[in-house]
Amino acid sequence: MRAAQHDHSHQAVPSDLTLRVKALESLLVEKGLVDPAALDALIDTYEHKVGPRNGARVVARAWVDPAYKARLLTDATAAIGELGYTGTQGEHMIVVANGPKVHNLVVCTLCSCYPWPVLGLPPVWYKSAPYRSRAVIDPRGVLREFGLELPEDVEIRVWDSTSEVRYLVLPERPAGSEKLSEEELAALVTRNAMIGVAKVTLLQPGAHS
C-alpha cells in the first residue's frame, strides 16, 4: 500500500506542482521580489556547499581537541560558528555526546526541523511519518531498523527538535582511530551518526552520507 501511494504521488503530483511553483516564481520575479540568479545561488549552496561534511568537521575537531569539545558541549552555536558554520536553522544549536552507556537520537515529531548549517537538508526518512512517530516511543526498535543493535544497559536519549532548537549528536570516536588525522577522522563521520541512527566505525561506509 505504501509503495502504491508513493508511485501515485510521483505520477500525479509533480506536474501540477511544477506548474504552480513556476507560476509563483514568475509572479515574484515580475514583482521584483526575487532574482532568479539568487535562487540558482541558493540551490547551488544547499546542493554543494552545505551538508554533513560540515558536521563531520565539527565532530572530528571535538575528538582531537578537548578544549573545543568542552566549548561545543557548553555553547554549541558559538563553537560550531568557530568553524564558519552559521545561519538559517542553526541559530540555536545543542550538541549531545554519546558515551559507552548513553546514546542520543534526534527527531522532529512536529515536522522536519534539522540543523541545516552542519547537516544540510534532511533526508526523506527523517521527515517521514514512520520515523517521526516511532522514534519517541520505540527508539530501540527504530535503531534496530537502521541496523544498530544497542546493549540493553545503554540508555537512549531522544531529543525532539521543537521551535528553534536544533540538535547534533557527537558520536563516540571509534576504537583504533588514535593515529588518524583530524581530516581522516572527519571522513569516517556519517550524517546518520550525527542524527544518532548509526555509530561511527573505522570502515568507510558504503553509502557515504
Binding site: E25, L110, P130, R134, E145
Partner: protein, 76 residues
C-alpha cells in the same frame, strides 16, 4: 493537537525507508520552491509562527507523502 503535525507516539505508520543514497532535491520544483521560500523570507512578510500556521492548514487527511511534497511549497 494530534495528527500529521504532531506525530510523536502515533502507531501504524509502517517501516522506515532507511535508504541512504538520495539527492538533496528530488525534483526540480522542490529546489525552486525551497529557494523561493528562503529568498522570500528575507522580506520578513511572515514569521516563524505564521509559517507554522500555514503548515498546519494542511489537513491530516492528506497523505504523509503528499504532505512532504507540499511542505516546501506552502510553508518553506
Amino acid at each position: 493537537m494530534n495528527g500529521v503535525h504532531d506525530m510523536g507516539g502515533m502507531h501504524g505508520m509502517g517501516p522506515i525507508r532507511t535508504g541512504d543514497d538520495e539527492p538533496v532535491f528530488h525534483e526540480r520544483w522542490e529546489a525552486r520552491a525551497f529557494a523561493l521560500a528562503l529568498a522570500m523570507a528575507a522580506w520578513r512578510k511572515w514569521t516563524l509562527d505564521g509559517s507554522r500556521h500555514q503548515r498546519e492548514l494542511i489537513t491530516s487527511a492528506e497523505s504523509a507523502d503528499e504532505l512532504l511534497r507540499e511542505m516546501g511549497y506552502r510553508a518553506g
